[in-house]
């Protein structure tokens, strides 16, 4: 359909071009989401030939360049697929289910101005780095779309693991775990397919999934 695609184009620039062409033909362009186009905002995400974000592993749609597609010239582009992500229009889906997870417990209860000196709260270099590994999640939802079960454990686990590593986050660890685990009912169960870590643009490890259960079990044994 597109004659003038070039290897330098990103997947989204291909869609831009396709939309130009559609408009030239007097048709309506295809709606799709993208914002920063640097791989950090998490707004973009389409399914390409069955794989969320596209054929290049661990790369968001905006950074999938055609030259890396290894000769695939026929692309079937769909929205991210999951029952938790209803389609809004064309390639745009509603990922607010992810924010419901964060809303329930993915935060730290410290009011503005009340925090103690951050230099007095010692955090080991290694711990800070591990926390950052988990905090790198960009919230694109590809993990859910990649999961044959539609599970959001990678997303939720990354948040739980990240906050459990930090001194302030530790304080409300139990409450947070309960609240977050409860919201996961909206998604599917994890069967350790490991598909999520193949697509995750932030390269989150499967350990994040274990963190969901670690925090959940810990909350059960902690009692009240």
């Amino acid at each position: 359909m597109l004659e003038d695609a070039t290897p330098e184009m990103s997947l989204l620039e291909l869609l831009d071009r396709l939309n130009d062409q559609l408009c030239e033909q007097g048709e309506e362009p295809i709606a799709f989401e993208s914002d920063c186009r640097e791989g950090v905002c998490g707004a973009c995400g389409v399914t390409v030939n069955g794989t969320p974000h596209g054929p290049v592993p661990n790369t968001p749609s905006c950074r999938q360049h055609l030259r890396a597609f290894g000769g695939i010239t026929k692309l079937r582009i769909e929205p991210l697929r999951s029952a938790a992500f209803p389609v809004v229009r064309d390639l745009v889906v509603d990922r607010s289910a992810l924010d419901r997870v964060i809303r329930a417990g993915g935060h730290v209860d410290v009011m503005a101005g009340t925090a103690p000196d951050a230099d007095d709260m010692l955090i080991g270099h290694a711990d800070a780095e591990v926390a950052l590994d988990f905090a790198a999640c960009i919230g694109c939802g590809a993990c859910v779309a990649a999961c044959p079960n539609g599970a959001a454990h990678l997303f939720a686990g990354a948040k739980l693991a990240h906050l459990a590593m930090l001194p302030h986050g530790k304080v409300e660890r139990t409450r947070r775990a309960r609240a977050v685990v409860e919201t996961l009912d909206e998604f599917g169960p994890c069967s350790s397919y490991g598909e999520c870590v193949e697509v995750c643009p932030a390269g989150l490890p499967l350990t994040a999934v274990a963190a969901v259960h670690r925090e959940g079990l810990r909350a059960i044994f902690k009692g009240k």
Binding site: G50, T51, E78, R81, S82, A83, A84, A146, C147, P148, N149, G150, A151, H153, A161, E186, F187, G188, P189, C190, S191, S192, Y193, G194, E195, E198, L206, T207, V209, A210, A211, V212, H213, R214, E215, G216, L217, R218
Partner: protein, 213 residues
């Protein structure tokens, strides 16, 4: 699912040790089988431990299957209309848990009927304990049938795969996040799976080949 799964892995390993007695000859094997029927005696009545195990395992099987079906149903609902094509080997293994598990369930039924109950599928020369056990003879008679031997061996391969993935999943379910534990655990799972293949799956084939007779 994880708890019952772990129980089964324990059972399979113990069962495997028992099975290995077959290499020590008929007497050793039959002696072990007889011991199983009276373990705990005279503190406990004969066969009580055996039946306790049977009941626990039986209930666990039901719970395990029940949980599997629930998970399958929840996953199906959460995924929505569009199925996901599976990618790598690990993913394939995960996808094979349910069908593989069904075959294993069928295998267990057959196995019980064949070598414990002596029901349908048992060899023509099957003998119940009278009170001498004939476990070794029953086993050889059963595995001398090529089709049955192949079924046994193939089921053991499935079981190994099932255990390998299930064992790995235990890490997630019990929330093990330590990097070293995770590495060691996966290797351990591989060894158990390998042992099931090397130990259990080899017996029917060796019977068929006439090495065990």
């Amino acid at each position: 699912m994880a708890v019952t799964g772990l129980l089964f892995v324990g059972f399979v390993v113990v069962h495997l040790f028992g099975n290995l007695k077959v290499f020590a000859g008929a007497d050793a094997f039959d002696h072990y089988a007889a011991w199983l029927r009276e373990v705990g005696y005279p503190l406990l009545p004969k066969q009580s431990v055996l039946w306790a195990l049977r009941i626990v395992l039986g209930l666990s099987v039901l719970a395990h299957i029940g949980a599997a079906v629930t998970l399958w149903w929840r996953a199906r609902k959460a995924r929505g209309r569009h199925r996901r094509r599976l990618g790598g080997a690990e993913s394939q293994l995960a996808g094979f848990m349910l069908p593989g598990g069904l075959v294993i369930a069928l295998f267990i039924l057959f196995h019980l009927s064949d070598l414990t109950i002596g029901g349908p599928g048992a060899s023509a020369s099957f003998r119940h304990p009278d009170p001498n056990v004939h476990a070794y003879a029953n086993l050889v008679a059963s595995f001398s049938r090529p089709l049955v031997a192949c079924f046994y061996s193939a089921s053991m391969l499935l079981l190994a795969a099932h255990i390998f993935h299930g064992w790995r999943t235990l890490l997630q379910d019990f929330g093990a996040t330590g990097a070293r534990l995770r590495r060691v655990w996966v290797i351990l799972g591989g060894l158990i799976a390998l042992a099931v293949v090397a130990g259990n799956a080899s017996i029917p084939l060796l019977v068929l080949a006439g090495v065990i007779s």
